[in-house]
Symmetry: C2
Subunit: 319 residues, 2 copies
């Protein structure tokens, strides 16, 4: 069984761990930094762990693509796979810790006006105190109660918020980090009471534009919005207007409809908008990469033994 | 009994609350925005709540100065009080929440390289992923286990660190937020194992220069330092050298030996140093101000009834 691993951040320890797992199921592993480095002898591999889209588009032998990302929307368009029966797994579960830290960081950054203070400090200026807000006693609304939403809620809990409400499609989530969990039908009733709206949703037909112009208008003018899921979830023009007109206190976006964000995007010059370049869940954090590799190795053993894969994408649901 | 309250941030609700407390003990309250606004008729007041240093220097009738700050070092120098028996209380206990949020924010900002990302974003640049660090599995050393240190430790706990070790003079702290608490004699043994050193100490003869050049050298080169106590606790020149030479990963200072930080200070141009202008514990946060006023009102009733004051400063200990 030929296995290709595409990831230039892997250490020797990671590679050894993957080789060992492959050995147990009689697989042979090739490590490359980039998909373009795959030699002809591995073009017909059965397994790819990494962003192997070009190979997937022509390799009819590919049975399983394991992507290190959580979002897989880009893989579900027609024509991506030469073998339409190819299984896709994502790495949802490895990003909760790092993205939760990102959400806490940017929320506090905005609420405490550290963005302003830091910008002034870069200019060598000792700035005067700004009005501050706090996670303490705030009402937090978390849209998307997967690994990321739960990891964030568990951390946010320590800051003594008034409430943490989760919202997901089913309205059900076993995690005790939320005070309550509602289904997406309740969103319009919940938005007017959010001090902080955290969005961590996959891109699916149901989530596209879920924070529409009408829903942005339902948020209180002193609310903050953080999006770490997919840019498609927000009406970016309406959000920019609300921010520029002071109908929202601030927003921190790590994801955008178009990435990299075009240099002429109005978002770059939008008031109280913190832009980060899709780095909330970066594999440059050792912990994330370790969990990611662990998950692949466990799944590789399952694959080799003919067991159902963990994190298998349901093409109909889109995640 | 004449009571002067100096604080331009107070709302009508705060003023009403203070008037009610004063009424219960037969006191009469004057509210002013600045000490310079105190009329002659209140120059001989018995109580000041605020930064009333000028009056304290000439008012022999002043029996109690209640300052809204936590640090009181500036009040303990000779000649500050015309009445040397004047009691001083601080507002330690009202800053834990806000300063803990500051510490989490700046720690994550540095560890996740959001300082770099944000600076690039201000220039309209979609920057490339940076190496990241995490609070997860980190070894946190908290120097000073008062209200601020404990509030921080309780929040940090939610990020799943490897350990949180408290250090204080006595080596004892009842708060369960710490895995263990050691006395300051153990500091040299603990510093080499700190990923994040958080300092929240009052200015006393014992704490001055506690993070000396020799101790800075004991920290691992990938350690971060956060100081929210007093600037006097750190050898600033040695810290700047360590940062510039890459012998420390980063530092976030909110307090400095000289404040405002002089425009020609080397610190402004020190590598990986995040400067904030003494804003970690700002009364611009509503929660902080509310607790601060609550504490004063409770103490005012105690004062009027001849009971021992809470938060009374021990001039020998310096806090």
């Amino acid at each position: 069984m030929k296995i290709v691993v595409i990831n230039k951040l892997l250490t020797d320890t990671h590679k050894e761990q993957i080789r060992r797992a492959a050995g147990e199921i009689g697989g042979s592993v090739l490590f490359v930094d980039s998909e373009d480095d795959i030699p002809g002898s591995f073009e017909d591999c059965e397994v790819i762990y990494g962003f192997g889209l070009k190979n997937a588009g022509r390799n009819r032998n590919l049975k399983w693509l394991s992507v290190p990302s959580a979002g897989v929307d880009y893989l579900l368009k027609p024509g991506v796979f030469a073998n339409e029966a190819c299984m896709i797994t994502n790495s949802s579960g490895s990003y909760g810790v790092t993205i939760a830290e990102h959400i806490v960081a940017v929320s506090l950054l905005m609420m405490r006006r550290l963005d302003f203070t830091y910008a002034e400090s870069l200019r060598g200026r000792w700035s005067s105190p700004q009005p501050q807000r706090s996670l303490k006693d705030s009402r937090i609304l978390v849209l998307g109660t997967g690994d990321i939403g739960c990891c964030f809620a568990r951390r946010a809990r320590a800051f003594e918020p008034e409430s943490i409400t989760g919202v997901c499609r089913s309205g059900k989530c076993a995690d005790k980090a939320f005070d309550r969990v509602e289904d997406t039908g309740s969103l319009d009733d919940l938005l007017p009471f959010a001090d902080l709206l955290v969005m961590s949703l996959p891109d699916t037909p149901d989530t596209r534009n879920i924070l529409s112009r009408a829903r942005i208008a339902l948020l209180p003018p002193d609310a903050y919005v953080v999006n770490v899921g997919r840019g498609s979830a927000i009406d970016e023009d309406a959000l920019a207007e609300s921010l520029n007109e002071g109908r929202l206190a601030g927003a921190a976006l790590d994801v955008f409809k178009n990435e990299p964000l075009p240099s002429d995007s109005i978002l770059w010059n939008t008031k109280n908008l913190l832009i980060t370049p899709h780095v909330a869940g970066n594999l440059t954090l050792e912990h994330t990469l370790n969990v990611n590799v662990d998950m692949f190795c466990r799944n590789l053993l399952r694959f080799g033994r003919g067991m159902p894969l963990n994190n298998l994408i349901d093409r109909n649901k889109g995640y």
